[in-house]
Symmetry: C2
Subunit: 309 residues, 2 copies
């Protein structure tokens, strides 16, 4: 059975939403993505934590089939810590503080057992480290990367090297526009493909996600939720569900990528229903496949009754 490698942060977040506050919430891109991917396939997680990272979180990950051999624990160190808040619209996080802590000296080492992983998700870390991880992999079949505005500005050359080596990039529309300097999203998305990736996962928050390939575009709305509690980790839960599902499926053709976008949309919907990973952990197969079919119904369109003429 195929396995997936995920590289990214494990964090302790202070999150404030209109509906409450949680201090030291277990989070980080690596944690969210690994949790979502673990619904479908064995996961190798590579990251770094301080002494303060709770054993219970690691035990939960391990119980879901996440191999933690690649998670380095720094003696005397403090874990990555993000403080942020959301207003009622829930569309943008305002960062109050970012403490890199042990993440500042992160030097990802991929354990021998994980180097054979066929599927890889490089969550949002320094592009130089994403390259370092890729150099350690034997022969991945599909690599997906994330990034952020900070790296687009400060590490553009390294980021371009990453994009030249990955199969897919998961970016939001602001990142796509910033990276290309092209305001028109349709053109900007295609310019990303010219940088290397075979596909772009365009993350549009409450407006859903699109898959852009050289052949065309696939778009899904987000799964409509009457209660969005905490959007933290939605994008990583999306990417983790996407790649975990592909790992299980074992195919990477365009119809498979479409299905994986729908799966990622559902895992992201579960993520935002509670603080931290609480609701994501409760996502059952039944609800997962139920929401998938609801999404499919939400985009069902009959042929045009007139015909071309």
């Amino acid at each position: 059975m195929s396995e997936v490698l995920i590289v990214g942060s494990l964090a302790l977040d202070d999150v404030t939403t209109p509906f409450g506050h949680r201090a030291e919430a277990w989070g980080g891109a690596g944690l969210y993505a690994a949790t979502a991917a673990s619904l479908f396939a064995p996961v190798h997680l590579v990251g770094v934590i301080g002494e303060d990272f709770p054993a219970a979180a690691l035990e939960t990950l391990a119980s879901r089939g996440v191999n933690l051999e690649g998670v380095e624990r720094v003696s005397g160190g403090k874990s990555f810590h993000w403080t942020g808040e959301y207003t009622y619209a829930m569309d943008t996080a305002t960062t109050r503080e970012t403490q890199l802590n042990v993440f500042a000296d992160f030097n990802p080492q991929v354990p021998a057992a994980a180097r054979e992983a066929e599927f890889v998700f490089l969550a949002n870390i320094t592009p130089a480290l994403q390259l370092q991880v890729l150099d350690q992999m034997t022969a991945p079949r599909l690599v997906l990367c994330d990034t952020m505005n900070y790296w687009i500005e400060s590490a553009r050359e390294d980021l371009l090297r990453v994009l030249a080596r990955v199969d897919g990039a998961a970016l939001n529309d602001a990142e796509v526009r910033m990276l290309t300097g092209t305001p028109n999203l349709c053109r900007a998305a295609n310019e990303i493909l010219e940088l290397g990736p075979k596909f772009l996962l365009l993350k549009k928050g409450e407006y859903g996600a699109s898959l852009v390939t050289r052949e065309g575009q696939f778009s899904l709305p987000c799964y409509p939720l009457p209660n969005v509690f905490d959007p933290t980790g939605a994008g990583d839960s999306f990417a983790g569900g996407f790649i975990g599902f592909l790992t299980w499926l074992g195919t990477t053709d365009e119809p498979s990528l479409r299905q994986a976008v729908a799966i990622g949309t559902v895992t992201a919907s579960a993520c935002v229903e509670a603080f931290s990973w609480d609701a994501l952990l409760q996502l059952t197969d039944q609800r997962l496949y139920g929401r998938y079919e609801e999404l499919r119904e939400m985009v069902r369109l009959e042929p045009c009754p007139v015909g071309s003429g």
Copy 2:
């Protein structure tokens, strides 16, 4: 054959986009909606113009089957005039000036022949006037209304009366949130339905449109265009295409509404490809149905390969 009544402005717009400027561009919600609807069905247009409104524009409308008996020409008056501009992102228009002119004293009179129209689109005008139009109609089968933030704030009671009497409302997400006071879009959309309409057309600009009914939601992305030239009139071209198509189709069940959303998405895509209605006038049946099928392909999703369990 069914006919459609459209009430709305005919305007002369000064529009500036990153790609150019046009003074005295023929526009207005009524003009855009009537033009889009005229692709499918006979249209009765009710509006008001000044002496400055060009005869050529009226002749073009008439040549497309738009009955102009309800368009009042005010001697010595000046037409509604909007001045606005767009930045590169093309997502928001900045209004520089609005001159109501003859529109300030608009008193819509529906000609006898138009009162029997089975389909009605009340474009964005004072809610009191929308009610006045409804009072003149014999027995419309389906009424769709638009509105704007200004009326939500200044004419809320009248607007609620309109919503209690229409079948559908075409609103953007900011309007839906403002009208309900509910930040969560999923809940806000359902609260709109409690005000009366059987369906909500949720306009999301470059993120497409959704149809929300009590039974569920249908979502389509916008048709991807590498060159968006001038977004003015996109929402009205969407609504006009939507209701014109339904008028032609003669059915108003949910699958028909979905098809009409796709048609509206295509007519809106044609609208934004050039200044004013230039590209909308050039939209051929072949391109229309071709884009419809492209949209259908863009949302095609296979069943989940796992099944519930």
